[in-house]
Symmetry: C2
DNA sequence: GGACCGCAAACTGTTGACAGATGACAGCCC
DNA sequence: GGGCTGTCATCTGTCAACAGTTTGCGGTCC
């Protein structure tokens, strides 16, 4: 009450002024770049032109550089001195490795959930599974995908600490870098959601070991489905011999396409 | 061979010129700051004065800012707009959470090692365990600590991919932020090294599940030993009520001690 | 005709400077 | 005397400019 009285009354719109007051331009640029990368607007391997980005976002190069440095540290871009920054390329091997990490993390969260046995959280998870089942029957892969994301987010929000959640999100982002592929197919939806149900059963039973195993198996299943889908044709050559994620020497993408600005038209 | 011929002949000293040519100032500053933070020269909660750091390192504020942004993204510092950056404070709860993550990761690496059963790697690990045993008998905690680090590094280098290794290193760094405490005591050395031996036995037996369990149990043991040592008296109050890692409002550290530069002496 | 060399443009790395904000101190009013 | 307000110093956020390097293109020599 006292705090509310001290605050200005119009604390309803969190946009505009509050944004400017709390977030720096660099952080906003970083957020925007991350969004662009994850949405595919900046595809993997793409070169990031600092001054072009600065001009596009209406800021100076300083904030852009800071943002890129942050994204570099978090693994979304790689930088080469005097040459530029590139959206990171994730190799198939790295993608599989990330799956393993996510499996372990999901397992931890599931085990913790089985220990806690929170009724409200469990029913929320059950609702998501029901929703996914409906989406599957309706053949709505898009809705299933969104609900699946919600489910895993909820799993981690309830069963893991903030550090683990952040790690899980980061790994998910990196996984997105491995080529945008068809989300889920119908048969995969069925198998995937069955595994969700298995997880919930183990949690409801209060069996941490079983819950952990079920959570790990689910991600391992996703890994298997991902692997069975196979690397795209264009990806195939480079996944075999190269460790990638170093665009300039390795992947045959951007090095050739640089500097097209000189050509007047 | 061809590459060597193309390179300049005096490629013996990797320092000086090569460093400048390949690494940017910002990355070097980041490396130095990370070193200072992990060595304790910049204690947790300490405020980072950009221009002081820039002057101290002999560079401009730009690279320092970029470095700090990178460290912020990797979780070593936290930044508040118009106020500055602070070395992150890791709460006891976060430290325990990090232990869980490391346990899971170590378990993954041990399981993979058991699958591979690489003789050379295994004997190297055995050598490290023998070395730790000797250090323990000699009561040389410092040597034991170093060898222990080597052991876990070797475990991950052999049994995990690059992404996992980087994650493991980052988590280790964050753990270092939780107050510099007495490394290991004699009895802990004994228990710790016994667990090392258990891990190696499971790996040698080619039993991934047992190796994984042993690896996880070892880190869990470390977590238990860490917890039993108890939070230091100075840490105790803040670990209970606060989620920390937000120095300015939460921890009663830097906010008061700021801006002492005005006083002439 | 091919390969080597030099030139120029573009971009990154770095610096210095300016504007805005924050926090503290001193003075003033009640 | 206590609380509040105005002012000031310091620092961060941002920008614009300079310097160095890489790269692509054109010319020239063999």
């Amino acid at each position: 009450m006292e705090d509310a009285a001290a605050e200005p009354a119009q604390a309803e719109a969190p946009s505009a002024l509050d944004i400017v007051r709390t977030r720096s331009l660099a952080s906003l640029v970083a957020q925007e770049l991350e969004r662009m990368i994850l949405s595919g607007a900046l595809p993997a391997g793409e070169r990031l032109n600092e001054q072009a980005l600065a001009a596009r976002l209406g800021v100076s190069r300083g904030p852009v550089r800071e943002a890129v440095r942050g994204l570099e540290r978090s693994g979304l871009v790689v930088a080469v001195r005097n040459q530029g920054s590139y959206v990171r390329t994730v190799s198939a091997a790295e993608a599989l490795e990330i799956y393993d990490l996510r499996a372990a993390i999901t397992g931890l969260a599931c085990a913790e959930l089985a220990r806690r046995r929170d009724a409200a959280g469990l029913s929320a998870l059950r609702g998501l599974v029901r929703g996914m089942d409906a989406a599957r029957r309706a053949g709505d892969a898009r809705a299933y995908y969104a609900l699946n994301l919600d489910f895993h987010d909820a799993l981690l929000r309830q069963g893991a600490g903030p550090r683990t959640q952040r790690l899980h999100a980061d790994l998910g982002n990196e996984l997105h870098l491995f080529r945008r592929r068809a989300l889920v197919e119908a048969e995969n939806m069925r198998a995937s959601n069955a595994e969700h149900a298995t997880i919930l059963r183990a949690i409801a039973a209060g069996d941490p070991a079983a819950a952990r195993a079920a959570g790990e198996a689910h991600i391992a299943g996703g890994k298997r489905r991902f692997r069975d889908t196979g690397p795209d044709k264009t990806e195939q050559e480079e996944t075999d011999h190269a460790g990638t994620h170093d665009p300039p020497p390795g992947a045959g993408g951007p090095r050739r396409a640089r500097r097209r600005a000189r050509d007047p038209g």
